[in-house]
């Protein structure tokens, strides 16, 4: 098994007007390809900070973070953008769809950023929307979709360019339990395969059993990593 993410003594300190907050305090973490890793822990323990560094949208202050063997910190900013555009998919708690773009247009954005022609990108987007069960709703604006449907569009957007890593920050927190479960099952179903890694930050204990492994954080440290022995729940 190859390493997707390799973090060694990762440290991040936020400095807001003289007041220093150590959000990551010497994180050691390896995540394999094909693995679904969950990050859990109390509010403010540094989960979001950690996936931001892993996804290459935030620079650490010390320590090493490698993604598929590449050190993003030392990459030229243009190469870093290209690396992100090709290799990473994002899913957010608040969906973050562009409100004036319809579902297909939203899903096509990562392809367009990667230089795909608009017509090709939107056609591909529609097939991915079918995979998440929204093939018929490709023309809908985000405001015309329910929360669960919007998150499914966001999952399609995270998948459309076939990235090697998908990072999700609280993907089910804005959804009710049943919808959250459906969305997680879908995510695991369509997103997971042996060449792809998922890192999911969550508070939501009810989705823990979707994980392969779970890293528990507190106050900028990883205090425990455990493998999931319970079988994943039946799809609902």
């Amino acid at each position: 098994m190859t390493l997707a993410v390799h973090c060694k003594q990762l440290t991040k300190v936020y400095d807001t007007g003289g007041q220093k907050v150590t959000a990551l305090n010497g994180i050691d973490l390896d995540i394999s390809t094909g693995e679904l890793m969950m990050l859990v822990g109390p509010s403010g323990c540094g989960k979001t900070t950690l996936i931001s560094v892993i996804a290459g949208i935030l620079d650490q202050d010390a320590g090493l973070c490698e993604l598929f063997g590449e050190n993003l910190l030392t990459m030229r900013s243009k190469d870093k953008l290209n690396f992100r555009a090709r290799n990473i998919g994002f899913v957010f708690q608040a969906f973050n769809l562009l409100p004036s773009l319809n579902a297909a247009e939203n899903v096509s954005i990562p392809l367009i950023i990667n230089g795909t022609k608009r017509s090709v990108a939107e056609r591909t987007a529609k097939t991915v929307l079918e995979q998440v069960g929204l093939g018929a709703r490709w023309q809908s604006l985000p405001s015309q979709l329910s929360g669960g449907q919007q998150q499914r569009v966001a999952i399609a957007r995270a998948l459309v360019h076939n990235p090697r890593l998908i990072v999700c920050d609280e993907p089910t927190s804005a959804l009710d339990h049943k919808t959250g479960n459906t969305v997680m099952a879908l995510l695991k179903d369509v997103a997971m395969h042996k060449d792809r890694t998922l890192v999911i930050v969550t508070h939501d204990a009810r989705i823990f059993n979707f994980a392969d492994r779970m890293a528990e954080m507190d106050d900028g440290h990883i205090i425990k990593i455990q493998a999931n022995t319970a079988p994943p729940p039946p799809h609902s």
């Binding site: 949208i57 935030l58 555009a85 990473i88 994002f90 973050n96 409100p99 004036s100 773009l101």
Partner: protein, 386 residues
């Protein structure tokens, strides 16, 4: 990514209209106010431009503008006629005289006396009667605005419109009879008094007895004569001032520019329009970017470069700028068209299009710039913030 930028912009119809309206307002103010200003300033010299035939105007050396009459002795006319290169030289009287209307009230009129033989310097357009009718005794030609308004017979009803002066009606200039034989259309001037045309010799009779009554000598250069060269010769030979028509217009224009409050008043309103327009349009555009910051952040996190984001914002600014500019200029033109028959001064030369275009561009570039700075500084990590 361009289509995404346009959809972002037009997706929120309310804000989109807000930005466009701000820019429309700015461009309207920056075009319409200067158009009135240019129109007003062109009135300062419209009497000169109305007199088409002569090349050169000769007058007292101390004259500062067209209504600043400093009479000459009549012998000057003959001296000018004697200068080589002069094809002809004609006298003109211009002065303010009191007219007594039939109801006994008085009205100051701008009386123009034309050379008895040639009638050179007459009104640019006759509406009723002909210029030749001035050869009849006691005859005068009155401008249409004066005839319908200030020289008209007052209405019997309070607040009613006066009955316009007609051909054959008479009035009294300095106790002498004057009979209306023609109605003319003249370009409006700053002076709102009625304009009354008559012959030079009759104007002298109407005017109070004075030693000097000659206001201007109108000169035509011989074919092939350089007018600038001829004005120099006239100045040297007579010690009077001699200007080509364009120079005299410029002199008058400059007098009003430097000695009246018109430029400063309009300058202030144009500046205010610019500031208010810039504030509204710049503000709404910047707010629009701020509100979309999260969307830009998402694009950035997904790997969009600052350069592409910059192009997107510029495209948005160019689009709202062009629409606002087009609407503002269009509204100005409509305004000018609607006002064409009124007393309002309005002139819309192409330079004004450039002026307001530059103004709107500055506003848009500025608004886009501060938005771009904000987006470039944006940390993509904000996308995970709640």
């Amino acid at each position: 990514m361009n289509h995404i930028a346009l959809k972002m912009l037009m997706g929120d119809t309310g804000k989109y209209i807000g930005i466009v309206m701000g820019l429309t307002f700015a461009s309207l103010i920056m075009t319409q106010q200067p158009a009135i200003f240019v129109g007003l300033m062109s009135r300062s010299y419209s009497f000169i431009s109305d007199v088409g035939l002569p090349d050169i105007w000769v007058m007292d050396a101390k004259v500062q503008f067209v209504d600043d009459i400093k009479p000459l002795q009549e012998t000057e006319l003959y001296r000018v006629r004697g200068i080589s290169g002069v094809a002809w030289a004609m006298p003109m009287y211009k002065g303010l005289l009191k007219a007594r209307l039939t109801d006994g009230t008085f009205q100051t009129c701008n009386v123009i006396g034309l050379d008895d033989a040639t009638l050179i310097g007459g009104p640019p357009q006759m509406l009723e009667g002909t210029l030749e009718d001035l050869r009849r005794s006691d005859s005068v030609i009155v401008d249409i605005d004066g005839a319908t308004d200030k020289l008209g017979k007052p209405s019997l009803l309070p607040g009613g419109k006066p009955t316009p002066l007609k051909l054959g009606d008479s009035l009294e200039l300095n106790d002498r009879r004057a009979i209306v034989v023609g109605i003319a259309k003249v370009t409006r001037t700053f002076q709102s008094q009625p304009v009354v045309y008559t012959t030079y010799s009759r104007a002298k009779n109407y005017a109070p007895r004075e030693r000097k009554l000659l206001s201007f000598v109108l000169v035509k250069a011989k074919p092939g004569q350089n007018p600038a060269e001829l004005t120099r010769r006239i100045r040297e030979a007579t010690g009077l001032a001699a200007y080509t028509q364009a120079e005299f217009m410029e002199l008058t224009y400059q007098y009003f520019m430097h000695n009246t409050g018109i430029p400063i008043n309009f300058g202030i309103s144009v500046l205010l329009g610019f500031i208010v327009g810039a504030a509204i349009a710049g503000q709404t555009f910047y707010n629009f970017t701020l509100e979309n910051l999260r969307q830009f952040g998402v694009l950035k996190a997904m790997g969009t470069s600052n350069w592409v984001l910059l192009r997107m914002i510029l495209l948005q600014a160019v689009l709202v700028g062009s629409i606002g500019y087009g609407l503002g200029v269009g509204l100005t033109a409509l305004f000018g068209h609607a006002m064409r028959h009124t007393i309002l001064a309005f002139k819309f030369p192409w330079q004004l299009l450039v002026f307001s275009g530059a103004g709107v561009s500055i506003i848009c570039v500025f608004a886009a710039l501060i938005s771009i700075i904000k987006v470039i500084r944006l940390e993509p990590a904000i996308v995970f913030k709640g």
